[in-house]
């Protein structure tokens, strides 16, 4: 009997060693559930504010941007009972503006993401289905648009179209669609290799039917998850563009715009930029938490391992 085997005939030693069965997983699981709950709570609150904003804010007109005549006497006032977040540079109630900003944020995000998704899905699926020249051309376009920063596009569009919702949405969609197109293309390629697509072809199904029934349905889930996870980033990018004055015009109830207005008076009236900034961060965080959790749920491999241990 070799030495190595003799060594292993010693009985199991006492519990100094790490024992797998006994770790407290419940704490970690609790953390994970809380994370999702927090994210969900934030998202729900923001959605709620977006929906009912105009009816619950104390000064709806000021929130929209209207400057009442007496406002010039109450410019840049710190938070008080009358004006919960204080007043902005023109004397309007900051609270109303920020709450209405939620509506603007949700509107921008949903429009941008839905439009980009639609375009991206179509392009990705077409490229994967038709291959050849179509594939090369579309992929080239995707690579081209992915590398354009949204800010530059916004700059150009601002000059061409002037400020407004159309500008900001267009500039974001022009760059974001390419991300979804790329993700779609990758998944769609692997789906085209599947035998059920071959079978559908042999059965004489039309290309449109194959693309919708087989490719689209199976590509949708991962791409949607990507979209949800992106919500936070889209918000931040939109706010940045607005902050730079390249999107929505001044006086709009939009967090980026308000922050810009408060920039010049940052030292004497920090609340003007601080409150919208805070809301921005919290909203982006909320979306991100929800998106991350969804992504973990969708991935079957991750689910088994992380569920109990993280």
């Amino acid at each position: 009997m070799s030495a190595s085997i003799k060594e292993f005939m010693k009985p199991l030693e006492s519990s100094g060693k790490r024992l797998y069965g006994d770790l407290s997983k419940s704490f970690k699981r609790y953390l994970k559930r809380t994370r999702f709950k927090v994210g969900l709570a934030i998202t729900v609150v923001i959605l709620f504010l977006a929906l009912v904003g105009p009816w619950i804010v104390p000064y709806p007109d000021e929130g929209e941007g209207y400057v009442p005549p007496e406002a010039s006497q109450r410019e840049k006032q710190p938070p008080s009972l009358k004006f919960l977040f204080g007043t902005d540079t023109r004397g309007r109630d900051l609270f109303s503006r920020v709450i209405l900003g939620a509506r603007s944020a949700v509107l921008q995000i949903t429009t941008v993401i839905s439009l980009s998704l639609v375009i991206g899905l179509v392009v990705g699926i077409l490229a994967a289905y038709f291959r050849g020249v179509v594939e090369t051309v579309l992929n080239y376009l995707v690579e081209l648009f992915i590398s354009i920063p949204a800010v530059i596009v916004a700059l150009v569009l601002r000059l061409a179209l002037g400020p407004g919702l159309l500008t900001i949405i267009t500039s974001l969609v022009i760059t974001w669609w390419s991300w979804y197109a790329r993700v779609t293309y990758v998944y769609a390629r692997s789906i085209m290799e599947m035998d059920y697509v071959t079978l559908a072809r042999l059965s004489g199904l039309s290309p449109v039917k194959i693309m919708t029934r087989h490719v689209m349905r199976n590509v949708l889930t991962p791409v949607l998850v990507q979209a949800v996870t992106d919500m936070g980033s889209v918000l931040l990018e939109a706010s940045t563009i607005n902050f730079l004055g390249l999107g929505l015009p001044l006086n709009s109830p939009e967090w980026g715009v308000i922050m810009f207005e408060g920039l010049g008076v940052l030292e004497i009236a920090p609340w003007i930029s601080a409150y919208p900034g805070l809301f921005l961060l919290i909203t982006a965080l909320g979306f991100s938490l929800v998106g991350d959790t969804l992504r973990e749920e969708m991935d079957p491999r991750l689910r088994r391992r992380w569920r109990l241990w993280f």
Partner: protein, 265 residues
Amino acid sequence: MPDNNIIVLLKDVVAGYQTTGRGWRSLFKHVNVVLRNVNLRVYDGERVAIIGESGSGKTTLLKVILGLLKPVKGSVEVLGKEIYKLPRRERVNVLKQVGYVPQDPYKALNPKLRVRTILSEPLESTKANLEEIEERVREVAKMVQLSDKILDKYPSELSGGMMQRVLIARSIIHDPEILILDEPTSALDVSIQAQIIELINNIHKKLELAILTVTHDLGVAQYLSDRAVILYKGEVIEEGHTDDIIAKPKHEYTNLLIASYKASI
């Protein structure tokens, strides 16, 4: 007895895949030849097996027969028509008379569709109305011994054996002239393999169609074919009645296959 109708006819087929050569050769199109001078015929009502291991070219041969890969040389006739000389629409029409059961059930069933939709798909381009389609779906489900309850399920709820049956049902629902099966039993457990082999033979008797099985398993070939063709490195090295080949192999490689089958895990 098979009559003189030839369902599938391959004459001197040479086929392969396009690759780019290395270095300066990348300027020229280069074909990596996988099949050399393959001749094959399948008569109406016959059971034929193509026996080959990985690398023998059987996957390529399947693609050629199914109209998915145009051969470099030679002709491919299905039901009397040269499919690669036809415009795409007509080719698809000819191939609709072919039933195909792919190898991997996990890749051959769309996970987002219910079994009913999967089964009725081949009938969508026909003029049948919804009731007729539903009736036919139930008919084939019964033929493959699947209960009606399966029709509403998704592929993820089915076992390997059930998935294979769904695939077989789908392949016969449009009443094809020939059924082509790619490794019909390799993904299955031993106890179910026998069931599926029995099922395929029953379908052959009942529907009187031709059966072409591509497999590496001599045992399966023995039970699913009367005539067999042995494929090695892209060439047909032996052909004849299956029982004869197994009892009296002529080629060395066939001998090797038989010996390995008898002795292996």
